[in-house]
Protein backbone atom coordinates (compact mmCIF):
# COMPACT_ATOMS: atom_id res chain seq x y z
CA UNK A 1 0.00 0.00 0.00
CA UNK A 2 2.55 2.53 1.06
CA UNK A 3 4.58 3.96 -1.78
CA UNK A 4 7.91 4.24 -0.07
CA UNK A 5 11.57 3.98 -0.79
CA UNK A 6 13.67 3.02 2.19
CA UNK A 7 17.30 3.73 2.54
CA UNK A 8 19.47 1.87 4.97
CA UNK A 9 21.93 4.65 5.79
CA UNK A 10 20.78 6.59 8.80
CA UNK A 11 21.79 10.19 8.81
CA UNK A 12 20.53 12.50 11.50
CA UNK A 13 21.09 15.52 9.29
CA UNK A 14 18.98 14.03 6.50
CA UNK A 15 15.23 14.53 6.45
CA UNK A 16 13.33 11.64 7.99
CA UNK A 17 10.64 11.96 5.36
CA UNK A 18 10.53 13.43 1.87
CA UNK A 19 7.52 13.88 -0.40
CA UNK A 20 8.26 14.04 -4.11
CA UNK A 21 5.62 15.41 -6.48
CA UNK A 22 2.96 13.96 -4.20
CA UNK A 23 -0.59 14.08 -5.51
CA UNK A 24 -3.96 12.66 -4.70
CA UNK A 25 -7.20 12.63 -6.66
CA UNK A 26 -10.59 11.14 -5.86
CA UNK A 27 -13.74 10.96 -7.96
CA UNK A 28 -11.97 12.85 -10.73
CA UNK A 29 -11.15 15.77 -8.45
CA UNK A 30 -7.54 16.70 -7.75
CA UNK A 31 -7.24 17.29 -4.01
CA UNK A 32 -3.48 17.50 -3.69
CA UNK A 33 -0.85 17.97 -6.36
CA UNK A 34 2.83 18.61 -6.86
CA UNK A 35 3.71 18.49 -3.19
CA UNK A 36 7.46 18.51 -2.64
CA UNK A 37 8.61 18.76 0.95
CA UNK A 38 11.02 17.47 3.51
CA UNK A 39 10.36 16.68 7.15
CA UNK A 40 13.47 17.32 9.23
CA UNK A 41 14.38 14.63 11.74
CA UNK A 42 13.77 15.61 15.34
CA UNK A 43 11.97 18.84 14.42
CA UNK A 44 8.37 19.95 14.91
CA UNK A 45 6.79 20.68 11.57
CA UNK A 46 3.36 22.28 11.51
CA UNK A 47 1.02 22.01 8.54
CA UNK A 48 -1.25 25.04 8.19
CA UNK A 49 -3.81 26.35 5.75
CA UNK A 50 -7.51 26.93 5.26
CA UNK A 51 -10.20 24.24 5.36
CA UNK A 52 -9.96 22.08 2.26
CA UNK A 53 -6.34 23.03 1.61
CA UNK A 54 -5.38 19.35 1.93
CA UNK A 55 -3.70 19.33 5.36
CA UNK A 56 -5.33 16.20 6.76
CA UNK A 57 -5.01 14.47 3.39
CA UNK A 58 -1.30 15.26 3.30
CA UNK A 59 -0.89 13.80 6.78
CA UNK A 60 -2.68 10.60 5.78
CA UNK A 61 -0.52 10.25 2.69
CA UNK A 62 2.67 10.80 4.68
CA UNK A 63 1.53 8.28 7.32
CA UNK A 64 0.65 5.75 4.63
CA UNK A 65 -3.06 5.53 5.33
CA UNK A 66 -3.78 6.43 1.71
CA UNK A 67 -1.81 5.51 -1.41
CA UNK A 68 -0.85 8.60 -3.43
CA UNK A 69 -2.26 9.01 -6.93
CA UNK A 70 1.10 10.34 -8.05
CA UNK A 71 4.55 10.89 -6.61
CA UNK A 72 6.01 9.12 -3.62
CA UNK A 73 6.77 9.33 0.06
CA UNK A 74 10.43 8.62 0.61
CA UNK A 75 11.68 7.45 4.00
CA UNK A 76 15.29 7.91 4.94
CA UNK A 77 17.31 6.59 7.82
CA UNK A 78 15.95 3.72 9.82
CA UNK A 79 13.59 1.31 8.18
CA UNK A 80 10.10 2.62 8.96
CA UNK A 81 8.25 -0.34 10.37
CA UNK A 82 4.93 0.33 12.01
CA UNK A 83 6.72 0.99 15.27
CA UNK A 84 8.46 3.92 13.62
CA UNK A 85 5.36 6.04 13.22
CA UNK A 86 2.08 6.80 14.90
CA UNK A 87 -0.84 9.11 14.30
CA UNK A 88 -3.36 10.96 16.46
CA UNK A 89 -6.62 11.85 14.77
CA UNK A 90 -8.73 14.96 15.20
CA UNK A 91 -11.48 12.87 16.77
CA UNK A 92 -9.83 10.23 18.92
CA UNK A 93 -10.89 6.66 18.18
CA UNK A 94 -11.30 4.89 21.49
CA UNK A 95 -11.62 1.12 21.51
CA UNK A 96 -14.58 -0.15 23.53
CA UNK A 97 -12.30 -1.10 26.37
CA UNK A 98 -10.79 0.41 29.47
CA UNK A 99 -8.14 3.14 29.32
CA UNK A 100 -5.49 0.59 30.24
CA UNK A 101 -6.73 -1.93 27.66
CA UNK A 102 -6.51 0.74 24.94
CA UNK A 103 -2.83 1.24 25.73
CA UNK A 104 -2.17 -2.50 26.00
CA UNK A 105 -3.82 -3.11 22.64
CA UNK A 106 -1.40 -0.75 20.89
CA UNK A 107 1.52 -2.51 22.58
CA UNK A 108 0.20 -5.98 21.77
CA UNK A 109 0.03 -5.04 18.09
CA UNK A 110 3.76 -4.27 18.32
CA UNK A 111 4.34 -7.80 19.61
CA UNK A 112 5.38 -6.91 23.15
CA UNK A 113 5.04 -9.52 25.87
CA UNK A 114 2.62 -9.23 28.77
CA UNK A 115 5.21 -7.96 31.27
CA UNK A 116 6.59 -5.31 28.92
CA UNK A 117 3.05 -4.25 28.00
CA UNK A 118 2.11 -3.78 31.63
CA UNK A 119 5.20 -1.70 32.39
CA UNK A 120 4.96 0.49 29.29
CA UNK A 121 1.21 1.02 29.73
CA UNK A 122 1.77 2.13 33.32
CA UNK A 123 4.42 4.63 32.18
CA UNK A 124 2.03 5.97 29.55
CA UNK A 125 -0.77 6.35 32.09
CA UNK A 126 1.48 8.38 34.34
CA UNK A 127 2.73 10.48 31.45
CA UNK A 128 -0.85 11.32 30.43
CA UNK A 129 -2.01 11.86 34.04
CA UNK A 130 -4.61 9.12 33.63
CA UNK A 131 -3.43 6.67 36.28
CA UNK A 132 -6.56 7.10 38.38
CA UNK A 133 -8.73 6.38 35.34
CA UNK A 134 -6.90 3.26 34.18
CA UNK A 135 -9.85 0.91 34.74
CA UNK A 136 -12.51 3.27 33.42
CA UNK A 137 -14.10 2.74 30.00
CA UNK A 138 -12.12 4.91 27.58
CA UNK A 139 -15.25 6.15 25.86
CA UNK A 140 -16.54 7.65 29.10
CA UNK A 141 -13.54 9.97 29.44
CA UNK A 142 -13.96 13.67 28.67
CA UNK A 143 -12.89 14.94 25.24
CA UNK A 144 -9.60 16.24 26.60
CA UNK A 145 -8.86 13.01 28.47
CA UNK A 146 -9.66 10.94 25.39
CA UNK A 147 -7.27 13.01 23.31
CA UNK A 148 -4.58 12.69 26.00
CA UNK A 149 -5.10 8.95 25.94
CA UNK A 150 -4.89 8.97 22.13
CA UNK A 151 -1.54 10.82 22.28
CA UNK A 152 -0.26 8.53 25.03
CA UNK A 153 -1.39 5.48 23.02
CA UNK A 154 0.45 6.77 19.98
CA UNK A 155 3.61 7.49 21.97
CA UNK A 156 3.60 4.28 24.00
CA UNK A 157 4.92 2.40 20.97
CA UNK A 158 7.95 4.68 20.89
CA UNK A 159 7.54 6.07 17.37
CA UNK A 160 10.27 7.96 15.54
CA UNK A 161 7.73 10.24 13.97
CA UNK A 162 4.36 11.33 15.35
CA UNK A 163 1.61 12.71 13.11
CA UNK A 164 -1.15 14.75 14.75
CA UNK A 165 -4.22 15.97 12.90
CA UNK A 166 -5.55 19.00 14.77
CA UNK A 167 -5.41 17.20 18.11
CA UNK A 168 -6.56 20.23 20.10
CA UNK A 169 -9.15 21.71 17.75
CA UNK A 170 -12.07 21.07 20.10
CA UNK A 171 -10.30 21.37 23.43
CA UNK A 172 -10.23 24.11 26.06
CA UNK A 173 -6.93 25.88 26.91
CA UNK A 174 -6.14 23.64 29.88
CA UNK A 175 -6.62 20.45 27.86
CA UNK A 176 -4.71 21.99 24.94
CA UNK A 177 -1.83 22.74 27.30
CA UNK A 178 -1.70 19.13 28.49
CA UNK A 179 -1.64 17.81 24.92
CA UNK A 180 1.08 20.28 23.95
CA UNK A 181 3.11 19.23 27.01
CA UNK A 182 2.85 15.58 25.96
CA UNK A 183 3.90 16.36 22.41
CA UNK A 184 6.76 18.61 23.52
CA UNK A 185 8.00 15.97 25.96
CA UNK A 186 8.07 13.48 23.08
CA UNK A 187 9.92 16.02 20.94
CA UNK A 188 12.53 16.46 23.67
CA UNK A 189 13.01 12.67 23.62
CA UNK A 190 13.81 12.96 19.91
CA UNK A 191 10.44 12.19 18.31
CA UNK A 192 9.86 14.02 15.03
CA UNK A 193 6.50 15.80 15.14
CA UNK A 194 4.26 16.64 12.18
CA UNK A 195 1.10 18.41 13.29
CA UNK A 196 -1.81 20.02 11.50
CA UNK A 197 -3.14 23.14 13.19
CA UNK A 198 -5.35 26.12 12.45
CA UNK A 199 -4.16 27.93 15.53
CA UNK A 200 -1.50 30.61 14.96
CA UNK A 201 -0.81 30.79 18.69
CA UNK A 202 -0.18 27.08 18.76
CA UNK A 203 2.03 27.43 15.71
CA UNK A 204 4.18 29.94 17.62
CA UNK A 205 4.33 27.70 20.69
CA UNK A 206 4.86 24.38 18.95
CA UNK A 207 6.40 24.94 15.53
CA UNK A 208 9.97 24.78 14.34
CA UNK A 209 9.02 24.60 10.68
CA UNK A 210 5.77 25.49 8.95
CA UNK A 211 4.31 24.11 5.74
CA UNK A 212 1.51 26.30 4.43
CA UNK A 213 -0.93 24.66 2.04
CA UNK A 214 -3.40 26.37 -0.28
CA UNK A 215 -5.81 24.63 -2.64
CA UNK A 216 -3.96 21.33 -2.54
CA UNK A 217 -0.50 22.79 -3.14
CA UNK A 218 2.36 23.88 -0.94
CA UNK A 219 2.08 27.67 -0.96
CA UNK A 220 5.01 28.24 1.33
CA UNK A 221 7.39 26.41 3.61
CA UNK A 222 10.12 27.54 5.95
CA UNK A 223 11.11 28.27 9.54
CA UNK A 224 8.20 29.20 11.81
CA UNK A 225 9.05 32.87 12.31
CA UNK A 226 9.61 33.42 8.62
CA UNK A 227 6.28 31.90 7.58
CA UNK A 228 4.29 33.43 10.43
CA UNK A 229 5.87 36.90 10.46
CA UNK A 230 7.05 37.45 6.91
CA UNK A 231 4.99 35.22 4.63
CA UNK A 232 5.80 35.41 0.92
CA UNK A 233 2.79 33.75 -0.66
CA UNK A 234 -0.48 35.62 -1.08
CA UNK A 235 -2.44 32.86 0.63
CA UNK A 236 -0.15 32.78 3.68
CA UNK A 237 -0.15 36.59 3.84
CA UNK A 238 -3.95 36.66 3.84
CA UNK A 239 -4.10 33.88 6.45
CA UNK A 240 -1.61 35.51 8.79
CA UNK A 241 -3.35 38.89 8.37
CA UNK A 242 -6.62 37.24 9.34
CA UNK A 243 -8.27 38.14 6.04
CA UNK A 244 -11.10 36.00 4.76
CA UNK A 245 -10.28 34.29 1.48
CA UNK A 246 -11.48 31.37 -0.58
CA UNK A 247 -9.80 28.58 -2.51
CA UNK A 248 -10.12 30.50 -5.78
CA UNK A 249 -8.79 33.86 -4.56
CA UNK A 250 -5.14 33.15 -5.28
Amino acid sequence: MRDTVMESAQDCAAPILTARDLGFAASGQVLLQGVDLEIARGRRTLVMGANGAGKSLLLRLLHGLLPPSSGAVLWQGARPGRTAQAMVFQRPVMLRRSVLANLRFALRVQGLGWRARAARAQEALEMAHLTDKARQPARLLSGGEQQRLAVARALVCDPEILFLDEPTSSLDPASTQMIEDLVNAAHVRGVTVVMVTHDRGQARRMGDEVIFLHAGRVAETGPRDQVLDAPRSDAAKAWMAGRLYTRTDF
Binding site: H63, G81, F89, V93, L95, R96, R139
Partner: protein, 235 residues
Amino acid sequence: MFSFGDMMAEALGLILAWDRELSAIVVLSLRVTLSAVALACLIGLPLGALIGAFRFPGRGAASVALNALMGLPPVVVGLFVYLMLSASGPLGVLQLLYTPTAMIIAQTILVTPIIAALTKQVVEDLHGEYAEQFASFGVSARARVVALLWDARYSLLTVALAGFGRAVAEVGAVLIVGGNINHVTRVMTTTIALETSKGNLQLALALGVILLGLAVVVNAGVMALRASAVRAAYA
Protein backbone atom coordinates in the same frame (compact mmCIF):
# COMPACT_ATOMS: atom_id res chain seq x y z
CA MET B 1 -64.53 -31.01 27.50
CA PHE B 2 -61.89 -28.98 29.36
CA SER B 3 -61.92 -25.19 29.44
CA PHE B 4 -58.70 -23.29 28.69
CA GLY B 5 -58.47 -22.39 32.38
CA ASP B 6 -58.67 -26.07 33.42
CA MET B 7 -56.03 -27.05 30.88
CA MET B 8 -53.72 -24.25 32.00
CA ALA B 9 -54.15 -25.32 35.62
CA GLU B 10 -53.24 -28.90 34.71
CA ALA B 11 -50.32 -27.72 32.62
CA LEU B 12 -48.98 -25.69 35.55
CA GLY B 13 -49.50 -28.76 37.74
CA LEU B 14 -47.35 -30.80 35.35
CA ILE B 15 -44.64 -28.14 35.43
CA LEU B 16 -44.68 -27.98 39.23
CA ALA B 17 -44.59 -31.78 39.47
CA TRP B 18 -41.58 -31.75 37.09
CA ASP B 19 -41.40 -35.46 36.40
CA ARG B 20 -38.43 -37.26 34.91
CA GLU B 21 -39.92 -37.40 31.41
CA LEU B 22 -40.57 -33.67 31.27
CA SER B 23 -37.11 -33.01 32.60
CA ALA B 24 -35.52 -35.23 29.94
CA ILE B 25 -37.37 -33.43 27.15
CA VAL B 26 -36.36 -29.99 28.41
CA VAL B 27 -32.74 -30.99 28.99
CA LEU B 28 -32.45 -32.56 25.52
CA SER B 29 -33.98 -29.46 23.95
CA LEU B 30 -31.46 -27.23 25.68
CA ARG B 31 -28.57 -29.58 24.86
CA VAL B 32 -29.44 -29.64 21.16
CA THR B 33 -30.18 -25.91 20.92
CA LEU B 34 -27.19 -24.67 22.90
CA SER B 35 -24.82 -27.02 21.06
CA ALA B 36 -26.15 -25.83 17.71
CA VAL B 37 -25.90 -22.16 18.71
CA ALA B 38 -22.36 -22.67 20.03
CA LEU B 39 -21.30 -24.36 16.78
CA ALA B 40 -23.04 -21.71 14.70
CA CYS B 41 -21.23 -19.00 16.68
CA LEU B 42 -17.88 -20.74 16.13
CA ILE B 43 -18.50 -20.69 12.37
CA GLY B 44 -20.70 -17.61 11.95
CA LEU B 45 -18.86 -15.06 14.10
CA PRO B 46 -15.50 -15.20 12.28
CA LEU B 47 -17.24 -15.65 8.92
CA GLY B 48 -19.42 -12.59 9.47
CA ALA B 49 -16.46 -10.60 10.80
CA LEU B 50 -14.36 -11.45 7.75
CA ILE B 51 -17.09 -10.37 5.35
CA GLY B 52 -17.84 -7.27 7.44
CA ALA B 53 -14.28 -6.07 7.87
CA PHE B 54 -12.55 -6.82 4.57
CA ARG B 55 -13.03 -5.96 0.90
CA PHE B 56 -12.44 -8.87 -1.46
CA PRO B 57 -13.79 -10.06 -4.80
CA GLY B 58 -17.14 -11.76 -4.29
CA ARG B 59 -17.86 -9.95 -1.01
CA GLY B 60 -21.17 -8.63 -2.32
CA ALA B 61 -22.23 -12.06 -3.49
CA ALA B 62 -21.26 -13.55 -0.13
CA SER B 63 -23.38 -10.93 1.67
CA VAL B 64 -26.37 -11.61 -0.56
CA ALA B 65 -25.97 -15.37 -0.06
CA LEU B 66 -25.80 -14.99 3.71
CA ASN B 67 -28.90 -12.80 3.79
CA ALA B 68 -30.76 -15.25 1.56
CA LEU B 69 -29.75 -18.21 3.72
CA MET B 70 -31.21 -16.49 6.78
CA GLY B 71 -34.59 -17.49 5.47
CA LEU B 72 -33.75 -21.15 4.89
CA PRO B 73 -36.93 -23.27 5.25
CA PRO B 74 -36.31 -25.68 8.17
CA VAL B 75 -37.99 -28.60 6.41
CA VAL B 76 -35.71 -28.19 3.42
CA VAL B 77 -32.69 -28.20 5.71
CA GLY B 78 -34.14 -31.24 7.47
CA LEU B 79 -34.59 -33.00 4.15
CA PHE B 80 -31.05 -32.12 3.06
CA VAL B 81 -29.50 -33.39 6.29
CA TYR B 82 -31.72 -36.49 6.13
CA LEU B 83 -30.46 -37.28 2.62
CA MET B 84 -26.87 -36.74 3.71
CA LEU B 85 -27.16 -38.94 6.81
CA SER B 86 -29.52 -41.63 5.55
CA ALA B 87 -28.08 -45.10 5.00
CA SER B 88 -27.74 -44.50 1.26
CA GLY B 89 -26.39 -40.95 1.72
CA PRO B 90 -22.73 -39.89 1.59
CA LEU B 91 -22.54 -39.65 5.39
CA GLY B 92 -24.71 -42.66 6.10
CA VAL B 93 -21.74 -44.62 7.40
CA LEU B 94 -21.66 -42.31 10.42
CA GLN B 95 -25.07 -43.63 11.50
CA LEU B 96 -26.13 -40.28 12.87
CA LEU B 97 -29.71 -40.23 11.58
CA TYR B 98 -32.31 -40.13 14.37
CA THR B 99 -29.77 -39.04 16.95
CA PRO B 100 -29.42 -35.73 18.79
CA THR B 101 -26.22 -35.13 16.78
CA ALA B 102 -28.25 -35.09 13.56
CA MET B 103 -30.59 -32.55 15.15
CA ILE B 104 -27.61 -30.40 16.18
CA ILE B 105 -26.25 -30.54 12.62
CA ALA B 106 -29.59 -29.47 11.15
CA GLN B 107 -30.00 -26.62 13.62
CA THR B 108 -26.41 -25.48 13.09
CA ILE B 109 -27.09 -25.22 9.36
CA LEU B 110 -30.20 -23.17 10.07
CA VAL B 111 -28.64 -20.84 12.61
CA THR B 112 -25.17 -20.22 11.13
CA PRO B 113 -26.37 -17.87 8.34
CA ILE B 114 -28.33 -15.84 10.89
CA ILE B 115 -25.30 -15.48 13.16
CA ALA B 116 -22.97 -14.71 10.24
CA ALA B 117 -25.25 -12.16 8.55
CA LEU B 118 -26.01 -10.26 11.76
CA THR B 119 -22.34 -10.40 12.80
CA LYS B 120 -21.35 -8.97 9.44
CA GLN B 121 -23.63 -5.98 10.03
CA VAL B 122 -22.38 -5.35 13.57
CA VAL B 123 -18.71 -5.72 12.61
CA GLU B 124 -19.06 -3.61 9.47
CA ASP B 125 -20.40 -0.70 11.53
CA LEU B 126 -17.68 -1.02 14.14
CA HIS B 127 -14.96 -1.40 11.53
CA GLY B 128 -16.09 1.84 9.91
CA GLU B 129 -15.21 3.49 13.20
CA TYR B 130 -11.93 1.63 13.81
CA ALA B 131 -10.53 1.17 10.29
CA GLU B 132 -8.23 4.19 10.15
CA GLN B 133 -6.93 3.65 13.67
CA PHE B 134 -6.25 -0.02 12.95
CA ALA B 135 -4.42 0.93 9.75
CA SER B 136 -2.38 3.45 11.72
CA PHE B 137 -1.47 0.83 14.32
CA GLY B 138 -0.66 -1.67 11.57
CA VAL B 139 -3.04 -4.30 12.97
CA SER B 140 -2.84 -7.64 11.13
CA ALA B 141 -5.95 -9.11 9.51
CA ARG B 142 -6.26 -11.81 12.15
CA ALA B 143 -5.79 -9.41 15.05
CA ARG B 144 -8.31 -7.09 13.44
CA VAL B 145 -11.00 -9.80 13.36
CA VAL B 146 -10.28 -10.81 16.96
CA ALA B 147 -10.35 -7.18 18.16
CA LEU B 148 -13.57 -6.40 16.32
CA LEU B 149 -15.30 -9.49 17.67
CA TRP B 150 -14.10 -8.71 21.19
CA ASP B 151 -15.15 -5.05 21.08
CA ALA B 152 -18.54 -5.96 19.60
CA ARG B 153 -19.07 -8.76 22.11
CA TYR B 154 -22.13 -7.23 23.77
CA SER B 155 -23.84 -6.57 20.46
CA LEU B 156 -22.93 -10.08 19.38
CA LEU B 157 -24.71 -11.49 22.44
CA THR B 158 -27.91 -10.20 20.87
CA VAL B 159 -26.88 -11.91 17.64
CA ALA B 160 -26.39 -15.21 19.49
CA LEU B 161 -29.75 -14.65 21.12
CA ALA B 162 -31.40 -14.35 17.71
CA GLY B 163 -29.79 -17.68 16.81
CA PHE B 164 -31.00 -19.25 20.06
CA GLY B 165 -34.53 -18.03 19.37
CA ARG B 166 -34.51 -19.58 15.93
CA ALA B 167 -33.05 -22.89 17.15
CA VAL B 168 -35.14 -23.41 20.26
CA ALA B 169 -38.40 -22.81 18.40
CA GLU B 170 -37.48 -24.97 15.42
CA VAL B 171 -39.58 -28.09 14.76
CA GLY B 172 -39.49 -29.09 11.08
CA ALA B 173 -35.84 -29.99 10.65
CA VAL B 174 -35.41 -31.75 14.01
CA LEU B 175 -38.56 -33.75 13.40
CA ILE B 176 -37.23 -35.03 10.06
CA VAL B 177 -33.68 -35.87 11.16
CA GLY B 178 -34.47 -36.76 14.78
CA GLY B 179 -37.64 -38.75 14.22
CA ASN B 180 -39.18 -37.63 17.53
CA ILE B 181 -38.17 -40.88 19.26
CA ASN B 182 -39.24 -41.01 22.89
CA HIS B 183 -36.33 -40.65 25.35
CA VAL B 184 -33.90 -40.30 22.42
CA THR B 185 -34.71 -37.38 20.15
CA ARG B 186 -37.91 -35.97 21.57
CA VAL B 187 -37.54 -32.25 22.26
CA MET B 188 -40.02 -29.65 23.41
CA THR B 189 -41.22 -28.49 20.00
CA THR B 190 -41.66 -31.97 18.56
CA THR B 191 -43.43 -33.10 21.73
CA ILE B 192 -45.80 -30.15 21.52
CA ALA B 193 -46.62 -31.07 17.92
CA LEU B 194 -47.11 -34.75 18.81
CA GLU B 195 -49.15 -34.23 21.98
CA THR B 196 -51.36 -31.66 20.29
CA SER B 197 -52.15 -34.12 17.51
CA LYS B 198 -52.95 -36.74 20.16
CA GLY B 199 -55.23 -34.32 22.02
CA ASN B 200 -52.98 -34.29 25.11
CA LEU B 201 -53.17 -30.51 25.30
CA GLN B 202 -52.13 -30.24 28.96
CA LEU B 203 -48.61 -31.57 28.29
CA ALA B 204 -48.34 -29.54 25.07
CA LEU B 205 -49.39 -26.44 26.96
CA ALA B 206 -46.97 -27.16 29.79
CA LEU B 207 -44.07 -27.46 27.34
CA GLY B 208 -45.25 -24.31 25.57
CA VAL B 209 -45.14 -22.42 28.87
CA ILE B 210 -41.64 -23.76 29.60
CA LEU B 211 -40.48 -22.80 26.10
CA LEU B 212 -41.82 -19.29 26.48
CA GLY B 213 -40.36 -19.02 29.98
CA LEU B 214 -36.93 -20.06 28.71
CA ALA B 215 -37.09 -17.51 25.91
CA VAL B 216 -38.06 -14.76 28.37
CA VAL B 217 -35.34 -15.67 30.88
CA VAL B 218 -32.58 -15.88 28.26
CA ASN B 219 -33.72 -12.63 26.62
CA ALA B 220 -33.93 -10.81 29.94
CA GLY B 221 -30.47 -12.00 30.93
CA VAL B 222 -28.86 -10.91 27.68
CA MET B 223 -30.69 -7.59 27.64
CA ALA B 224 -29.61 -6.85 31.22
CA LEU B 225 -26.01 -7.64 30.35
CA ARG B 226 -26.18 -5.47 27.25
CA ALA B 227 -27.77 -2.59 29.15
CA SER B 228 -24.94 -2.63 31.67
CA ALA B 229 -22.46 -2.66 28.79
CA VAL B 230 -24.18 0.32 27.16
CA ARG B 231 -23.98 2.23 30.44
CA ALA B 232 -20.24 1.52 30.52
CA ALA B 233 -19.90 2.56 26.84
CA TYR B 234 -18.66 -0.91 25.93
CA ALA B 235 -21.56 -1.54 23.52
